[in-house]
Symmetry: C2
Subunit: 206 residues, 2 copies
DNA sequence: CCAAAATTTAAACAATTGTTTAATTTTTTC
DNA sequence: GAAAAAATTAAACAATTGTTTAAATTTTGG
């Protein structure tokens, strides 16, 4: 029956590469086939349509996107250490996959459907108990009286945006990729200090 | 010679609307023509090609994008007040044009050319003297020893990203547009406090 | 080794793409 | 008001789009 598992995987890898860099609208199925080194018909043989193939790639990307978050939240650390580690791990992760934030946000942005995020993405995060840990820390007066939604916005802004704005930032300051990467590293440290300083009250209950 | 200035403007307005929401690759010239309520050929009569029309729209968007920044920097305020006002004004501006950050970053991201930003965009900013004001404040010990590039990254991240991530954030938290807008307002205040607290040393020279 | 199944290919499909041509309508100019 | 210029249209163009068909090739199972 099955002859070569690797063909299906090769197509997925090529599709991921092409979709990530050019976006759904910015590429043709022939672009992907060329990347695979095969015929266009093969793509539809395995994945029915361009749209179906894209949905598969997007789901995988979204899963990766949320994975590093879950790993940190599942640990047995204090909230302060979790926040610090989250910033660290997410930065390291996006250093390896710098195109991911843009791909996710752009795909959602141009997605016609307002379909809600499937629960299999969100439940694992809720199941880490991070929300309860946050509310308890707030109740104990260890952190500021700020909503977790606002903390999330703060974290995502500072972790995702720099990777999305590489071209704008490089052109804006007229700097090289090396200089930009230096700025990225420094930014990570600034954000860690900034957010932990803001969020955590130095003398709890005092 | 000229009959109706408004036709050219109507096409530009339609192109702006369509390009902004769907992106260059996500729309056809016929989409724009339909938005205008006229023929496709009219677009090329006025603007030669889809690409030329897009470049025009993009340049205008980039100009708007940087304009609110220049207005604040040109004022006679202290650095601290400028930073605070910048966040305020940029937020208000993007409330009116929420699709602008995504359009700019996405267009740059998929732009094949690595052409540098034209100087007519950057010079007005440099001419405000903001860079000198920043370095002087640093020399006086009023602000932290952090590069202006890192401050820029901090500001842009927190000001642009929330408008780009609306769909992700709404789906992530399962909230309505009204709730999201409330979060946005709160985010603005948090960012103002966060960045000014971080950047400005409370007791200079001490 | 041979038939059946699975895989891969080339070719064609109708629809859509950006652009151009040429004709028509509207406006301007004198 | 008639000739000239400008604006607008319909139609066609070649190329590209996603998808399908049918034939060819390769692999599998007995």
């Amino acid at each position: 029956m099955k002859r070569d598992q690797s063909t299906e995987e090769k197509i997925k890898a090529a599709a991921k590469k092409v979709f990530m860099t050019k976006g759904f609208d910015g590429c043709s199925v022939r672009d992907i086939a060329k990347e695979v080194g095969s015929n266009v018909a093969l793509l539809n043989y395995y994945f029915r349509s361009k749209e179906k193939l894209f949905e598969l790639i997007f789901e995988g990307a979204m899963s990766d996107f949320l994975q590093s978050m879950i790993a940190v939240f599942s640990s047995e650390l204090s909230l302060k250490e979790k926040v610090s580690q989250l910033i660290d791990k997410e930065f390291d992760f996006f250093m390896e996959h710098p195109e991911l934030p843009m791909f996710i946000l752009q795909s959602l942005h141009q997605n016609k459907t307002d379909a809600p995020m499937p629960s299999h993405f969100l439940e694992p995060i809720a199941n880490t108990g991070i929300f309860e840990q946050f509310e308890q820390a707030k109740a104990r007066g260890e952190i500021r009286d700020v909503s977790i939604r606002n903390v999330t916005m703060l974290l995502m802004s500072n972790v995702h945006y720099p990777f999305m704005s590489k071209k704008l930032t490089k052109q804006f300051h007229g700097i090289s990729t090396e200089e930009f990467d230096e700025d990225l590293k420094k930014h990570k440290e600034i954000v860690k200090e900034l957010i932990t300083n803001y969020l955590f009250i130095s003398n709890p209950k005092a």
